[in-house]
C-alpha cells in the first residue's frame, strides 16, 4: 500500500479506481450535534472581508467586475491568482484575479464576441481570425439544424438549448485526484486507450472514444502543470486533509477554467474529505479549527468562480449562477447514513462566511438521517435560505449510494455517468398550438402539423387533450433530434477533456429533457374540463384569448381532479420522448425544472385558458401557479409530490417560501416544524424542495433598496441567488410567488 494511504482500510480500491468502496470502508458516520464546530479564524475573516469588498465592486460594476479577452481560457492560460496573496490556504483561481472572467470560445465564438462587446472589450485580432479556420460547437449545430428546428427555437416552443456555449452538467469525480494522484489516473487512462484503440472493430464509437481518452490524458498532464504553478506536486495521492481538499479542488478548477458549461457541479466530496479529516484529527496532524479553515477556504474559492455571460443568457438564467452543486448526507446501501462531521463543516460555512448562493448546497434527505443533523439543516435553512433538499430514499435505488447532483436536481452516478442536457419544451404553448390547429398564438406563423382549430366552444376536454397530445408527439420528436445534434457537435468540437478525465473512459450517458409551463398547462386543461372555456379570436381567426365561465380545480391544492391531469402530462411527455433514439444510446430522462427561465417562457406565451395573461411569468419548475395554492403548504406540497420521480428522473423541482411566523412562535419550534415538513413531504415520495424562510415585505424592501441587502440569498428554482443579482423582472416574479403564512 502507498504511504499516503497508511491507516486506511484496504480493499479493491487499492488495486483499481473505486472511490465508492474507499468511502464505505473508511468513513465514520457521525450521530452527534453541531457543538464541535469551529468558527472562522482571523485569516478566514480577512479573506472573507476581501471577497465581500470585491462583491460590492462587482455589483457596482453592473454584475461583471473584469473581463480578460486577451487569451482563450485553457487549463494553463493564466498564471496563479489569489484572493489575498500569502493568505489563501486552499489555492487556485480560474484566472489570475478573483472575479475576473475569461473567454471560452469553443462552444461558440459568436456568443464570445457579443459578451466581449457588451463589456466594452475587444477580441484580439489573432483570436478573432483563428475562428475563420476553427469550427465551434455553435457553428456545427447550426450547420445541421433544419428550418423547423430553428422555427420552434425562435418561437419559444423549445428554449434554453445549449447550442451557443458549453453544455455543462458533467461532473468529474474529482475525488480521484486526491485518492490516487494524477500519475495513476494517467496510467489507467493509457491502459484504457490501448484497449479501446486495439479493438477488432474500429467503429465510429470506438474511434471517437479513443480520441477522447487521448485528449483526457493530455488534460491530466496539464492539470499537473497547473498545480505546479501553485507550488504543488499532485502526481501522487494526497497525504492529509488539506491536500485532499487541494487536490480535489485543482481537479475541479481545471474544468471551470476550460469550459463555460451552464452547470458545473462539484459532486459529493464532503464525506470523502471527512475520512482524511478523521485520520488527521486522530494523529494530531490538524485541529478542528484548522480543518474548518481549510473547508471555509475551499468554499470561498467556489464563491468567486465566474463565467462570462451575455445579457440574453442572464435573462434566461438569472443571478449569475455556476451551479457548483455539492450533495451532502444521504444513506449508504448498507443502511448506514453518510453524515459525517464534514457534512456539518460544509454547512457551517454559511455561518462562518455568511449566506451565499454558491456552492449549491444540497442535502440528500432520508428518513434515516440522524435527528441532530436534520435539525441542524432545518436551522441553517431558517437562518440562511441557502440550501435545498432532495429525496435520497427515492434516488438511491436507481443511482446507487454514490451519486451526485448535476445542476439543480439531477442525479448522476459518480464517475460512471455523464449527462447530455438541454432546454425545456413549453407545455402551455403546445396546448395553445393544439387549440389553434398549428398556428402560433403570438405571431400567427404556421408551425407543426396543420389542422382545423377548435370551434367556438365551450371547448370539449377530450378534443383539447387529443390536440395537446398530437402536438406533444410532434414536438418531442423534434426535441430529441435537436438534442442529438447538439451533443454530437459538442462532443466533436468542444469536448470537456479536463472533466471527462475524472470519469470512466466508457461512461453511461443520460439525455435530460425538460418541460416548462407545467402548472399553467395543467390548470388550463382543468379549466377546459371543469369550467366552460370559449376561445376569443382576432381578425385573422387566430385564437388569442379565452373566456372562462365558472370555477375549476387548480393544481397545488391536493385536489386529484387537476393533479391527475398534471401527472398525465408528465407521463405523456416522457413516453413521447422515449419513442425516439438518442445519440450514443443515452437514456431519456425528464425534468420539471425551469431555473429562472419561467419568466422568459411566460414572456413568449400568449393568454392561456386558466386566466393567465399573455407575457406573465410561469410558476417555476413543478410549482403551483402563484397564489393559486390556497389550502396551505401541505396541500401545495402534496400536489407536487404526486409527480412521480420515476417518470421525471431528471428531477421535479419545487421552490417553497414560508414566513418564519408560520413555522412556529419560537426558534426551537420552527426548527422542529421544518423537520416535520421535510419528513412529510419526502415520505409522500416527493423529490426536491428549495426552502426559503422569509417575509414578502423583506423582498419588497430589498427590491427598492438593494444596497441594504448585500448578501440576501434566496432559493429560486433548484439553486440559490443573491437577490440583488437578479434582474428586476426576475425579482418581481420571486416576490409574486406564494408565501405560506399563518392564517
Amino acid at each position: 500500500m502507498r504511504k499516503e494511504w497508511e491507516g486506511f482500510v484496504p480493499g479493491r480500491w487499492t488495486e483499481q479506481i473505486d472511490v465508492e468502496e474507499f468511502i464505505n470502508l473508511n468513513y465514520h458516520p457521525y450521530d452527534g450535534d453541531d457543538s464541535f464546530l469551529a468558527g472562522p479564524t482571523e485569516r478566514t475573516k480577512e479573506c472573507y472581508a476581501r471577497v465581500q469588498e470585491l462583491l460590492v465592486e462587482e455589483r457596482k460594476a453592473g454584475g461583471t467586475l473584469k473581463v480578460d479577452a486577451s487569451r482563450i481560457m485553457r487549463v494553463n492560460a493564466f498564471g496563479p491568482g489569489y484572493i489575498v496573496p500569502g493568505k489563501d490556504v486552499i489555492v487556485g483561481l480560474q484566472t489570475d484575479e478573483p472575479l475576473k472572467r475569461g473567454i471560452c470560445p469553443f462552444g461558440g465564438i459568436k456568443m464570445v464576441r457579443e459578451e466581449v462587446a457588451e463589456y466594452g472589450e475587444k477580441l484580439p485580432e489573432e483570436i478573432d481570425r483563428m475562428f475563420d479556420y476553427i469550427t465551434t460547437h455553435n457553428d456545427g449545430v447550426f450547420k445541421a439544424y433544419s428550418k423547423e428546428m430553428k422555427q420552434v427555437r425562435h418561437l419559444g416552443y423549445i428554449t434554453g438549448l445549449p447550442d451557443a456555449y458549453g453544455r455543462g452538467r458533467i461532473i468529474g469525480d474529482y475525488r480521484r485526484a486526491a485518492l490516487y494522484g494524477i500519475d495513476y489516473l494517467i496510467a489507467e487512462k493509457q491502459k484504457d486507450h490501448e484497449m479501446i484503440a486495439s479493438r477488432h472493430v474500429m467503429n465510429e464509437e470506438n474511434i471517437r472514444t479513443a480520441e477522447e481518452v487521448f485528449n483526457q490524458i493530455k488534460s491530466l498532464k496539464e492539470i499537473k502543470k497547473m498545480a505546479e504553478a501553485y507550488g504543488y506536486d499532485i502526481s501522487g495521492p494526497a497525504k492529509d486533509v488539506k491536500e485532499a481538499i487541494q487536490w480535489t479542488y485543482f481537479a475541479y478548477l481545471a474544468g471551470i477554467k476550460e469550459e463555460n458549461g451552464a452547470a458545473m457541479s462539484m459532486g459529493r466530496t464532503s464525506t470523502f474529505i471527512d475520512i482524511y479529516a478523521e485520520r488527521d484529527l486522530a494523529n494530531g496532524v490538524y485541529t478542528e479549527e484548522e480543518i474548518q479553515e481549510f473547508v471555509d477556504d475551499f468554499i470561498l474559492k467556489q464563491r468567486v468562480a465566474r463565467h462570462l455571460r451575455t445579457n440574453e443568457y442572464n435573462e434566461l438564467f438569472g443571478g449569475d449562477p455556476m451551479w457548483i452543486t455539492e450533495g451532502i448526507g444521504g444513506v449508504g446501501l448498507d443502511g448506514r447514513h453518510k453524515v459525517t462531521k464534514n457534512s456539518y463543516r460544509v454547512l457551517q460555512t454559511l455561518y462562518n462566511l455568511g449566506p451565499a448562493p454558491e456552492p449549491n448546497l444540497t442535502v440528500l434527505w432520508s428518513k434515516d438521517l440522524p435527528e441532530p443533523f436534520k435539525k441542524f439543516c432545518a436551522q441553517v435553512s431558517i437562518d440562511t435560505d441557502s440550501i435545498q433538499y432532495e429525496n435520497d430514499d427515492k434516488m438511491r435505488p436507481s443511482y446507487g449510494e454514490d451519486y451526485s447532483i448535476a445542476c439543480c436536481v439531477s442525479a448522476i452516478q459518480m464517475g460512471q455517468q455523464m449527462q447530455f442536457f438541454g432546454a425545456r419544451c413549453n407545455l402551455a404553448k403546445i396546448l395553445l398550438l393544439g387549440l389553434n390547429g398549428g398556428i402560433d398564438e403570438r405571431t400567427g406563423e404556421h408551425v407543426g402539423p396543420q389542422m382545423e382549430p377548435v370551434g367556438d366552444g365551450p371547448i370539449d376536454y377530450e378534443d383539447a387533450w387529443k390536440r395537446f397530445n398530437i402536438y406533444l408527439e410532434w414536438l418531442c420528436e423534434l426535441y430529441v433530434n435537436i438534442m442529438n445534434i447538439i451533443h454530437f457537435m459538442h462532443d466533436k468540437y468542444d469536448f470537456e477533456a479536463a472533466q471527462m478525465a475524472f470519469l470512466n473512459s466508457e461512461v453511461k450517458r443520460l439525455m435530460a429533457f425538460g418541460v416548462a409551463g407545467f402548472s399553467v398547462a395543467a390548470d388550463s386543461l382543468s379549466a377546459i374540463k371543469y369550467a366552460k372555456v370559449y376561445p376569443i379570436r382576432d381578425e385573422n381567426g387566430v385564437i388569442v384569448d379565452y373566456r372562462t365561465e365558472g370555477d375549476f380545480p387548480k393544481y397545488g391544492n391536493d385536489d386529484d381532479r387537476v393533479d391527475e391531469i398534471a401527472v398525465a402530462i408528465s407521463e405523456r411527455t416522457i413516453e413521447e420522448l422515449r419513442k425516439h433514439p438518442t445519440y450514443r444510446n443515452s437514456v431519456h430522462t425528464l425534468s420539471v425544472l425551469t431555473i429562472t427561465s419561467n419568466v422568459m417562457y411566460g414572456k413568449k406565451t400568449g393568454n392561456t385558458p386558466d386566466g393567465r395573461r399573455a407575457g406573465t411569468p410561469f410558476a417555476p419548475g413543478a410549482n403551483p401557479m402563484h397564489e393559486r395554492d390556497s389550502h396551505g403548504a401541505v396541500a401545495s406540497l402534496n400536489s407536487v409530490s404526486k409527480i412521480d420521480w420515476n417518470t421525471c428522473q431528471d428531477g421535479v423541482s419545487n421552490t417553497f417560501s414560508i414566513t418564519p411566523e408560520a413555522l412556529g412562535k419560537e426558534r426551537g419550534e420552527r426548527i422542529e416544524t421544518m423537520v416535520g415538513l421535510l419528513n412529510g413531504y419526502f415520505d409522500r415520495g416527493a423529490h426536491h424542495l428549495n426552502v426559503n424562510v422569509l417575509n414578502r415585505s423583506l423582498l419588497e424592501d430589498a427590491y427598492e433598496n438593494p444596497e441594504k441587502y448585500p448578501s440576501l440569498t434566496v432559493r429560486v428554482s433548484g439553486y440559490a441567488v443573491r437577490f440583488n443579482a437578479l434582474s428586476k423582472n426576475h425579482q418581481k416574479e420571486v416576490i409574486a410567488r406564494t408565501f405560506h403564512q399563518s392564517k
Binding site: D558, H631, G632, A633, V634, A635, S636, N638, E661, A662, L663, G664, K665, E669, R670, E672, T673, G676, L677, N679, G680, Y681, D683, R684, H740, S742, K743
Partner: protein
C-alpha cells in the same frame, strides 16, 4: 339535559354536514406540531380584533362533510409526527358540536389527534361530549374581567365558566391563549388578573400570549364592517416578551 348523539363508527356513513370557513393544511401555530386546521364557520362572538370576521355568520362559508374532513386529515398524516394532528378552529367550532363529535371520534379511530380551538362564548347540549372527544383544548381567554370580556366579545362570560367546569371535570389537557392588545390588556395587572383567573383551570400545559396584529383590517373593509380598533397599533413584541415572563402556569 343533553341529547344523546350517534357515534360514528368505521365503515358507517353519516349524512351529517358541517359548515366550513376554510382549510389550512399546514398549521404550525394552532396546537403542537404540524396540524391540519379546519376553520369552522359561525361564531356568536364579535371580538373587536377578530381576524376572521368572514367566519361570523352561521350561513356563510360552505358545506363540508365527514368524508372531506377525514380525507384532508389523512393527507396530512406523514407531516404530523408524534405531536401533530387536526385542529378545529373557527369561528367558534363548538357551534357545530354534533358534527365535531363525529369527526373527532372518527379521527381518533384512525389514530389522529384532535385539538379544539375555542373561545368559551358558546355552550350547548353537545359541548361536553365534544370536549370529551378532543385530545387538547386551546382555550382563548379574551379577558378575565366579565365587563371587559363583554366589551371585547359582545358575549357574557357565563359560558366560559361552563366550559371551564366541563374541562375540569374531564381533566382535559389545555393550552391557554390570550391576545394582548395595547391599552386594553397590556399591563402587569392585566397579566396578574389572567394568572388568577387560570389558576382554577386544572390541566394547563402551556400559556400562550399572542400579539395583537392589524393584518386583518383590510378584510373588514371588504366585508363592509366597521373596524372598531382603528388606530390601535400592533402589539410591541418586546413588551409582549416582558409580559410573558409574568405568566404563571398553574400546577396540575
Amino acid at each position: 339535559m343533553r341529547a344523546p348523539y350517534i357515534v360514528f363508527r368505521k365503515g358507517e356513513r353519516t349524512e351529517m354536514k358541517g359548515r366550513l370557513h376554510s382549510i389550512e393544511t399546514f398549521g404550525a401555530v394552532d396546537g403542537p406540531g404540524i396540524r391540519t386546521v379546519f376553520f369552522m364557520q359561525g361564531c356568536p362572538a364579535r371580538c373587536l380584533y377578530c381576524h376572521n370576521p368572514d367566519s361570523w355568520k352561521c350561513d356563510g362559508g360552505r358545506e363540508t362533510d365527514l368524508e372531506e374532513i377525514l380525507y384532508r386529515a389523512e393527507r396530512g398524516r406523514p407531516y404530523y409526527g408524534d405531536k401533530g394532528g387536526v385542529t378545529f378552529s373557527g369561528g367558534e367550532p363548538l357551534m357545530q358540536g354534533q358534527f365535531l363529535i363525529e369527526a373527532m371520534t372518527a379521527l381518533k379511530e384512525r389514530g389522529i389527534q384532535s385539538a379544539l380551538d375555542i373561545s368559551g362564548t358558546y355552550v350547548d347540549e353537545y359541548t361536553r361530549d365534544a370536549l370529551a372527544a378532543c385530545d387538547l383544548v386551546l382555550l382563548d381567554i379574551k379577558h378575565p374581567d366579565p365587563e371587559r370580556f363583554e366589551i371585547i366579545t359582545g358575549c357574557k362570560q357565563d359560558t366560559l365558566f361552563e366550559v371551564i367546569d366541563m374541562m375540569n371535570e374531564l381533566e382535559k389537557p389545555c393550552w391557554i391563549r390570550h391576545v394582548v392588545v395595547p391599552d386594553i390588556n397590556d399591563t402587569e395587572e392585566d397579566i396578574e388578573a389572567l394568572n388568577q383567573f387560570i389558576s382554577k383551570i386544572r390541566n394547563i400545559q402551556k400559556v400562550e400570549l399572542l400579539a395583537y396584529h392589524t393584518m386583518a383590517v383590510n378584510k373588514y373593509g371588504k366585508l363592509g364592517i366597521v373596524y372598531r380598533l382603528k388606530g390601535v397599533p400592533p402589539m410591541d413584541k418586546g413588551r409582549l416578551d416582558e409580559l410573558k415572563k409574568l405568566v404563571r402556569v398553574p400546577e396540575k
